[in-house]
Subunit: 210 residues, 3 copies
């Protein structure tokens, strides 16, 4: 098992635990918790594969991912209270997951010969969409639309990838530099409470329906 | 038309009526009712096909399914009050549908050469996902996350399939035994109000957001 | 750039602006607005492509669409107040978009050799589904289920397509006549407040859950 695979499993663990905790806080039953954990961890990659036409989608042929998620759910059940206290550690895990998923998604787009903007979008979808489905399933406006730095970090890190690519930096270094950028921007953004502009309408009771 | 096809149509009928009734109880208009009925009946199979890379997805080339759903919607419009009184019959239909959809999805996974756990998951998705999309569209937390025996029955029945497969039981008998297991577990679970463990956090106002 | 492509871009512009305005009225941040605009404009076509097995889905290889949406979001940010006053113009744009998307989706179904009913459904999905995902993401019951003429116009216009096809009308004329039917029905329906029958249950507190 190489370095990237280890990081990949760390990312999956973080996402699965984050999903399981969200489901527990909504008081879902055991099965609901498993589904939400699974969707949070595998949802982004699934949408990426569907959009690219990769079939069967990757979790179907990757039992490591499936076992990892199941173990995470069991651990979360047992240690749910303690895990909530480890929130900073989990946040770190989650950021690592986002960093890795972004670069993996982006590289799959490159392999398919897509435009850099589309590749960055794919990376962003891989990293963020699991959380979006999780929020839809538990009936909330996805957190990504309210705490934007999540996706902005992916976009910034993805841009780093293409800038370095232009300067002929070796591929492994690009991968790490780009992933680390995502992780650092995310951590700094949360630490310093960075926010994107949020231009709102004053008369927001005027609904816009077509 | 063979036995399985007849069962398949019974399942579709039950799902379509269940969807139409849910839409009516949300006071949607005629078109909304048709969509919700369609999604409830065809949604699980559609996701299964997308995940497996079967295209075009099966309802697109299966007009029987489409006509069955349209007829069900019309019948539901006309007899909506009487149908609500037949709830037990509908519940039975619905259980039969779940049983059949589970085994069909599972077998499609087997044909694609997937791992047994993935096959059972596919069966479960085929049987349950239509209801999940229905609930998302009418803006509720999917019932599957609140009344778990739904999916647990699919998993148990799917496991029966692989246990019998190991003992070289003939395929037709496996199909029926596995489907009947799903149906029986579901019916018993609802009758005796079985529930999965529901481990919840006491301080659930502490949100877990990443 | 030919006539159809110009119409296609007009449709995309209208959908992107309609999505961006919906996101602004929900007070999402800049990134959330971009996603919602993108999903509203590209979501219907994406689902159409996934269902048909077209991969990668079309927006991934169509940078015009991507640039158009980004420009629309920027314009919406700057002129959001003025745009809300142009609501009638936007409604017209939106109707044009629906008309075009319906016929394009329908023709893709025809090329795939599907049954007319399925083709009309595909056209309807292409035109309406972007709005459905938009509404799910901002956590509302999709407007399509409450203001049905949206989809009914697509179905009626799609039917015009197949009636004209039977009379051997030239393809270009069929395209335009069918698209214009969708647009006219939509505009007339909104102007005269047409509504589909809305048969509701009196005792709607009796939930129907399976």
């Amino acid at each position: 098992m190489d370095f990237i695979q280890i990081l990949d499993i760390i990312g999956t663990i973080a996402f699965a635990i984050s999903g399981a905790l969200a489901a527990l806080s909504k008081k879902l039953d055991a099965f609901g918790v498993i589904i939400i954990a699974f969707v949070t961890a595998a949802g982004g990659g699934t949408l990426r594969d569907i959009l690219l036409g990769v079939s069967p989608v990757s979790w179907m042929t990757n039992m490591n991912l499936v076992y990892t998620i199941l173990i995470c759910v069991i651990v979360t059940f047992i240690f749910s209270k303690r895990l909530l206290k480890l929130r900073k550690t989990l946040f770190l895990f989650d950021s690592v997951g986002i960093g890795i998923y972004t670069v993996v998604g982006l590289e799959m787009g490159l392999i398919a010969g897509l435009h850099p903007i589309i590749c960055v979008t794919l990376g962003c979808i891989s990293a963020c969409f699991g959380g979006v489905i999780r929020d839809i399933l538990v009936n909330e406006i996805p957190v990504i639309f309210r705490k934007n730095i999540y996706a902005t970090a992916c976009i910034a890190g993805g841009s780093v990838y293409f800038i370095l690519l232009r300067f002929n930096v070796p591929e492994n270094i690009i991968f790490i530099a780009s992933g680390v950028s995502v992780i650092m921007i995310r951590i700094l953004a949360v630490h310093f409470k960075w926010q994107l502009p949020r231009p709102y309408l004053e008369e927001d009771d005027e609904k816009t329906q077509f």
